[in-house]
């Protein structure tokens, strides 16, 4: 039962990254691939119907962690206190930018919100990537299973670490490039004209960099967390996920070169999902890794609520999850095809 809930949490987190990832990426790109107001509204029309629902996956994943592994949520959120608020404020500004921009047709108003939207969309993947880096590197947990990290100390990934060090920043940059590339494939799929062409170019460049950085990040991870890859031989799921990621990146390259943007977007989704899946399979059962001693790590086993509570939660989850999938399928079907910037006064 505990393994199942770990898998559910990992699956929902991966879904969140793939879905909100494309609107983060599109947001970060839109200052560069969309120049005129008309083009920018084309980008907003492409993500407008979806971004709110995508973000719900974050809340739902948080909720699942809350109900199944409350200690992990409590220690993680209070330990990364400042970083979490940075994320929250950025999410607030980004959501407001999308909503408020459309209501007033005034160049300065729109330009200001465009910048807020673009910067917030770029900052969030960096923050989330750095958070993932922290989990892989490990945290100074105390005897009661709590920790507290400053934003940064001396940028070394050992000793007195901060949330940001060379390793976590590297993961953050890697995440940014992957997410921007992901958003590029999405925009290439959902738009036409100049925005499509520029997005395709941007996605190509991002994924070229991602392909170069991937082995470097892998090596860096081995350097800060020597135990991680030891598990590889005994984790067939991790192999499967890595194969999906590799296949994903091949599909991105083929899709972009062959003008099949949907194939590129699906490949990009497989890449992100595969990487996260492999990570989850490798770290299991550790959720918050302690650098202060392996017995202080918070694992799925020592932080899960009792089976009775997990069974109750599974009872409603198996009803809710398919419903959520149905909503998304309906939503994507209703808004299928290329996005068209609505006429003035009709939103975005």
């Amino acid at each position: 039962m505990i393994e199942l809930w770990f898998a559910i949490a990992a699956l929902m987190l991966a879904t969140y990254v793939v879905l909100d990832g494309f609107d983060f990426g599109a947001g970060a790109l839109h200052l560069f691939v969309a120049k005129s107001d008309q083009e920018r509204r084309q980008v907003l029309a492409a993500i407008g119907p979806f971004w709110d629902g995508n973000e719900v996956w974050l809340l739902a994943t948080g909720g699942v962690l809350f109900v199944a592994f409350p200690k992990v949520l409590a220690a993680g959120l209070s330990g990364f206190y400042f970083a979490i608020f940075l994320v929250l404020w950025t999410l607030i500004l980004r959501g407001i930018a999308i909503e408020f921009r459309s209501h007033i047709e005034q160049p300065l108003w729109r330009a200001a919100w465009d910048v807020v939207f673009g910067v917030a969309s770029a900052l969030l993947p960096v923050l989330f990537g750095a958070a993932l880096g922290n989990l892989l590197r490990g945290l100074p947990m105390n005897q009661e299973g709590w920790f507290s990290l400053p934003l940064f100390t001396d940028f070394t990934a050992s000793g007195e670490v901060g949330i940001l060090d060379w390793y976590t920043v590297l993961v953050g940059v890697f995440a940014l490039l992957a997410i921007v590339g992901h958003g590029g494939t999405y925009l290439a799929w959902k738009t036409d004209g100049t925005v499509h062409a520029r997005s395709r170019t941007a996605a190509t460049w991002c994924y070229a960099t991602v392909a170069v950085l991937w082995p470097i990040v892998t090596a860096a991870t081995a350097a800060v967390n020597a135990t991680l890859y030891e598990a590889l031989s005994s984790r067939p799921l991790a192999w499967l996920a890595l194969a999906a990621a590799l296949g994903g990146i091949v599909s991105v390259v083929l899709g972009l070169r062959g003008h099949r943007p949907l194939q590129a977007f699906l490949g990009s989704s497989a890449f992100l999902g595969g990487l996260l899946g492999a990570t989850a399979a490798l770290v299991f059962p550790v959720m918050l890794r302690a650098t202060s001693g392996d017995d202080l790590s918070l694992t799925a086993y020592n932080s899960a609520v009792p089976p009775a509570s997990l069974r109750i939660a599974l009872g409603w989850w198996v009803i809710a999850a398919p419903l959520a999938v149905v909503y998304f399928v309906v939503l994507f079907r209703i808004h299928r095809g290329k996005a068209i910037a609505p006429r003035q006064g009709e939103g975005y």
């Binding site: 809350f66 409350p70 220690a75 206190y81 959501g95 939103g347």
Partner: protein, 458 residues
Amino acid sequence: MSDPLLWHRLQFAFTIIYHYLFPQLTMGLALLIVVLKIVGLRTGRAKWDDAARFWIRIFGINFAMGVVTGIPMEFQFGTNWARFSEIAGGVIGQTLAMEGMFAFFLESAFLGLLVFGERRLGRRGHFLAAAALFLGSWLSGYFIVTTNAFMQYPVGHEVGPGGHLHLVDFWAFVLSPWALAQYAHTMMASVVTASFVMAAVGAYYALQGLHGGQARLFLRIGVAAGLLSSVLVAFPTGDLQAKLVAEHQPVTLAAMEGRFESGGMAEINVIGQPNVRERRLDNPIRIPGMLSWLAYGQFHRNVRGLNEFPEDVWPDNIELLYYAFHVMAGLGTLFILLMATAAVFDWRGRLGRSRLLLWILMLAFPFPYIANTAGWMTTELGRQPWLVYGILRTADGASPTVHAGTALFTLIGFSGLYFVLGLLFLHLIGREIAHGPTALNPNEGTAALAHGAEVPRD
């Protein structure tokens, strides 16, 4: 200053009070929009759809503010109340996760269709989108109220090793009598807010001589829904809630009424100032027997005073609790009187001509917001000093690793951000109201449909 608890409490109180300014309107408005859409469908008259379209735009801006200010609420359980989350997560995590999985997904999927999809969906489809959003937002309210109800009156749980709470009886938890009463009371109060806002906009247009038909429509719906919901807030829902407090939190009831001594024929204090140091109520105006009757249905019944309870279970801010409760109850009574008067005028066909009444209706819209906020403060201050009543004290629920200065810093951050957002929000709402309800241009509509049909499919 160096105690983080105060700053954690202030931050949570501030962010949730600010957040709840938006859902209280959108939840009530969702119902009124469904009503407008139903009448529009049945009569086939465009003015109802025009009215719905106007309120959907107001709804959209409020909904966005509600969404973005709601995101921090879930995270603050972990950032600021980590011990509480660790201990109670097995129970309250259920409702919070269900809110995300059942309600938020539904809302987010249909919001865009409601706001931008009228042409694409047609009348019936657009009504269904409104109904889905209504269902989602009221479901969302239910999960949040159930979470709060557990903190007020814990049921369905078991205390495990280390004091952790676990859910053992799902239905006892989600159908707790406290949750049902509090939900009915809260939702009716949100309809009060929406009705007052609708009536206020109608009154504003009527006073300005703008949008004649729409002004009358807003006024009539606002007054009718306002009267009905104001009455339902007081009775039976508020009464039910009070009886539950009397039964399960007698010390809270005593503090709400500033009642220090026990005794029968307990009185309601219409006015008075609690004097905690001297343990008495200064300058009271009393209605004898009313409190006994409201709490237990009998005038002579004994209602216990604060003196009967040890001071360490007294709510820690009795003055504020007392005033919050009296503001809520006092305003609630005035709402019934105001809306009943307006309804009588309307019935006689004189509502549109009484400028005084229109002025009052126009200026009355902030007061449901005040009453709702005061009601929320009554609930939360009344629960003190407990996070989970009788099980976990507030002082034991805060994050162990977060310093006072850190918590103060993020409180200041929220204040600045929310202040700016508030100004922009008011500006946008002002523009929408100045713009007013408009008809859907039929030529534009068909053009859009034709355009939509040409969209290349991928």
